[in-house]
């Protein structure tokens, strides 16, 4: 029965209460461990299409008569356009239309960051469009840009009200503590740098707006554009079958999609608006920089008595204030916690969600601080974390739907035990060490999410749902889930996705939510189809449906008889079995979170400050693993991005003008194949019995969270140097080494 419920919806750590209609989750959870298809490695079903260059991405969409849009962007970090004249552009060759803030209200005359869009043109070729955009005449009134986050906090320039959290009495706890450690940590701004830049192709077909877009959220784009044009939502059709990476930056429509749709409306032609790499680096989102002033108080046995954090998120001109404070509130049992987060509004590009927004930054600070505490207490770092493990959610005392962090710690032991042997490799120049860090994050997904399953006379199944596979392999995971439920070999199940006109509503692919949101809906739909098949079979062979099951492409009876599925379904000819499934509710009153720990090994050249990461072992607890092959790839990819964040990546701004200096992929240094260490990936792989019919949580984000702290802690283990900012440049490392030597020199005479 459909049930109307009020439930908590969580995306990227932001909760809201929503009304939703859910179907009962009638299916029993599968047993733990590998099943016939689920829990076994499966190569991605669209792998060959992508590898052979056959997959059509939004960047490849070429519609008849399509025009190309070029965007005019602010050259200044903060300026107001007093006047604009697109007239000269309209006289340029190949130009069909222009728009600007003067006639398009979604554009703003006030440019709050370099690269802010103020006008756009559409032309026959992209070259003509760019040439014309350059002729647009603007009278700018420049203002002094605000670029310093501390200054913004002092001046009260916030994106939203500071967020304060308090439990217990931190001041009292720190007074009573045996040991107190205080430190300031900084994280840089980094760029998503998805290989496919943001792009959209918009076309008005009859009274329908068709939007091809590289997006993580087909249905969100539909709603945004329907609202923009005042259309009923289903008059906007959104298509994204293949998608070239997003990492959080492609959750919304952005101004580029509105530009394409508006210019398409004005010209009556399809319009493509694709960002160049340089536009991408300025205006398509970033992980914001942070400043974290942290304190921890503990007993001599390592039990935490107080944690305090003052966090400044350098958000930029727009975005939201991510949960940099989350790990400090949630990771360890500690009665006295106070945090404040300031969201500094600056004249730099807008922040966008980036793979575990806030928690990547906050975990770096917290887990380095814990390591400094362990050093001060002369306590084993893993033991310190164990002693502060919590069995209940620390925010409101809720039970966890499942938590296997202690199992992660046990699995980490052999990797952590390598530290003696690793340290022993050190010589005068290269120092070796091992560090670890824990991970906490969301990843439970939620309703609504729907899927249909169609089974034909040839006994093959097609899953239909308008979700998107952003490169995580979720298409393949859905096929595995449906195959398991229908007792079919994987190659007899296909998944049709990526089109809002051709499938039911599906979850956003963000917040590690695709598998936990969509997987149970797909299983429910397959279960509905399976039930119908067995009912028909029971009538065909005069038995009780409850004595039949589906296995290996056959209908199997408890008395040992079995028939190929096609023998039954072949009778149907053109008739089809249609199954319908919905994601059930989240477990009431429980907190659904993911956990893990990573152990990093590094070598540090103490003369030059060079850091090499040689090995990372990752152990994560995300409930049931649907596809071990794809899951390992997610972990490896997260760790490699994290290594970039830790060692080489930084969006650099000119300190005077605020111009982005790292606009290209040679200036902005993402990791290459030569930068990759040995990566060991393990899972607890224990289904969350309280979470849906699947017991699986999301894995997109957890692996990127603890790596930076694990690497920094390994550097301390190797050298004694306390690294407190990322990226760990050679300057930062040599500074930390000098500081460590100074500490030793000061300590030595008294020793």
């Amino acid at each position: 029965m459909a049930r109307l419920i009020r439930t908590e919806k969580e995306v990227e750590g932001r909760y809201e209460e929503v009304w939703t209609v859910v179907d009962e989750d009638a299916l029993e959870q599968w047993p733990a461990g590998p099943l016939e298809v689920v829990g076994r490695p499966a190569a991605r079903q669209d792998g060959a299409q992508r590898a052979r260059g056959e997959a059509r991405y939004t960047a490849d969409v070429r519609l008849p008569g399509m025009l190309h849009a070029a965007v005019m962007r602010s050259p200044f970090a903060h300026a107001v356009a007093r006047s604009i004249d697109v007239g000269p552009a309209l006289t340029m060759p190949g130009i069909h239309a222009a728009l600007s803030f003067a006639d398009a209200e979604f554009l703003d005359a006030e440019a709050g960051f370099p690269g802010a869009a103020i006008a756009a043109v559409a032309a026959d070729t992209i070259g003509q469009a760019r040439a014309a955009a350059e002729t647009i005449a603007v009278e700018w009134e420049q203002q002094t840009p605000l670029l310093d986050a501390d200054e913004a906090v002092q001046k009260g320039r916030f994106l939203s009200e500071p967020r304060r959290y308090e439990r217990g009495d931190l001041a009292g706890a720190l007074t009573d503590a045996d040991v107190v450690v205080e430190a300031e940590y900084r994280t840089q701004s980094v760029l998503h740098s998805a290989m496919e830049t943001h792009c959209a192709v918009c076309a008005w077909e009859g009274d329908i707006l068709v939007v091809h877009i590289s997006t993580q959220y087909i249905w969100g784009i539909r709603d945004e554009l329907a609202e923009h044009f005042g259309l009923p939502p289903d008059r906007v059709r959104v298509v994204c079958e293949f998608m070239g990476g997003g990492f959080g930056a492609k959750n919304g429509a952005g101004d580029y999609t509105r530009i394409a749709a508006e210019l398409a409306l004005r010209t009556g032609r399809p319009v493509r608006c694709a960002l160049t790499r340089r536009e991408e680096s300025q205006a398509a989102g970033n992980r914001n920089a942070t400043i974290q002033r942290l304190r921890v108080g503990a007993r001599t046995d390592g039990r935490l008595v107080g944690l305090g954090g003052e966090f400044t998120n350098a958000v930029g001109w727009d975005g939201w204030v991510a949960g940099t404070d989350g790990p400090m509130q949630m990771l360890y049992a500690c009665e006295n916690v106070e945090t404040t987060v300031y969201g500094a509004k600056l004249n730099s590009g807008p922040m966008a969600a980036f793979r575990a927004p806030g928690f990547v930054e906050g975990t770096f600070g917290l887990e380095c601080l814990l390591d400094e505490l362990a050093a001060k207490l002369d306590l084993d770092q893993l033991e310190l974390r164990r002693r502060n493990h919590s069995d209940v959610d620390l925010l409101d005392g809720r039970a966890f739907s499942s938590k296997n962090l202690e199992a992660c710690y046990r699995l980490a032991e052999p990797h952590w035990d390598r530290r003696h042997e690793v340290r022993a490799r050190s010589d005068e120049v290269w120092k070796h060490g091992v560090g670890l860090a824990s991970q906490i994050w969301y990843g439970g997904g939620g309703p609504p999410s729907y899927a249909w399953v169609r089974v034909g006379a040839d006994a093959t199944a097609t899953v239909v749902t308008a979700m998107q596979d952003i490169g995580t392999g979720s298409r393949t995971a859905m096929a595995q889930i449906a195959a398991e439920e229908l007792g079919l070999p994987l190659e007899r199940v296909r998944v049709e996705l990526g089109d809002s006109a051709r499938g039911p509503f599906a979850s956003i692919s963000a917040g590690s939510s695709t598998i936990p949101s969509m997987g149970p809906a797909v299983r429910a739909a397959a279960g509905d189809a399976a039930r119908q098949i067995l009912e028909i079979a029971a009538q065909r062979w005069n038995c009780e449906a409850s004595t039949l099951s589906l296995r290996g492409g056959r209908i199997v009876s408890v008395d040992g008889d079995s028939w190929p599925l096609e023998e039954l379904l072949g009778l149907l000819e053109d008739a089809q079995i249609l199954g319908r499934g919905a994601r059930g509710p989240n477990p009431a009153g429980m907190r659904v979170l993911t956990f893990g720990v990573q152990v990093a090994e590094v070598a540090v050249d103490v003369e030059t400050g060079e850091v090499r990461v040689s090995r990372v072992a990752a152990i994560h607890d995300v409930g049931r693993i649907v596809n071990p092959l794809g899951a390992r790839s997610q972990v490896e990819g997260g760790i490699i991005q994290a290594i970039g964040h830790t060692l080489s990546e930084a969006r650099l701004l000119d300190p005077e003008t605020g111009i982005v200096l790292t606009q290209t992929l040679d200036a902005y240094r993402v990791p290459t194949i030569a930068d990759v260490p040995e990566i060991v990936c393990e899972f607890v792989d224990e289904p969350d019995v309280h979470l849906t019919n699947l017991g699986a949580k999301g894995l997109g984000e957890p692996p990127i969270i603890p790596t930076a702290a694990a690497i920094s802690n390994a550097i301390r283990d190797a050298t004694g140097a306390a690294v407190r900012s990322v990226p760990i440049t050679r300057d930062e490392l040599l500074r930390a080494l000098e500081e460590a030597h100074h500490r030793e020199r000061v300590a030595a005479p008294s020793a």
Binding site: R50, A51, R52, G53, M195, R277, G471, E636, I673
Partner: protein, 145 residues
Amino acid sequence: MPELRVNGHGYAFEGPVGRSLADVLRDDLGLTGTKVACGEGHCGACTVQLDGVPVLSCITLAHTVGGRAVTTIEGLREHPLVEAFVREDALQCGFCTPGQIVSAAALVDASPSPSREEIRHGMAGNLCRCGAYPRIEEAIATWRS
């Protein structure tokens, strides 16, 4: 009208001097397997072979190609590397993958059993933001199995 020889077929193309090979392949010939991710020669997504040598088609002027044989991913679809990449899960979003395979095909042509070091050196110009690198290395190391 200038001509290109692509995957064994001859094509005439038009347009002003200064057009990139990538644009001609994608926009004129419809060979969109070649991807453009940076447009200025930094990422390797647009890699094609000229007479068997990997080049960055986004910074190669179409008019300078002349009689050299252009090989794109469309000409390498049956290469065993494709199967190896899929088997080893050497791709996630797949946007960089055609370029990875074109580079890898040239690598294994020159060195059919490349060492891990050779793979890491030969493939360092092909960026993958999803971080499929460990699997890419494995796929190339085991491409003939």
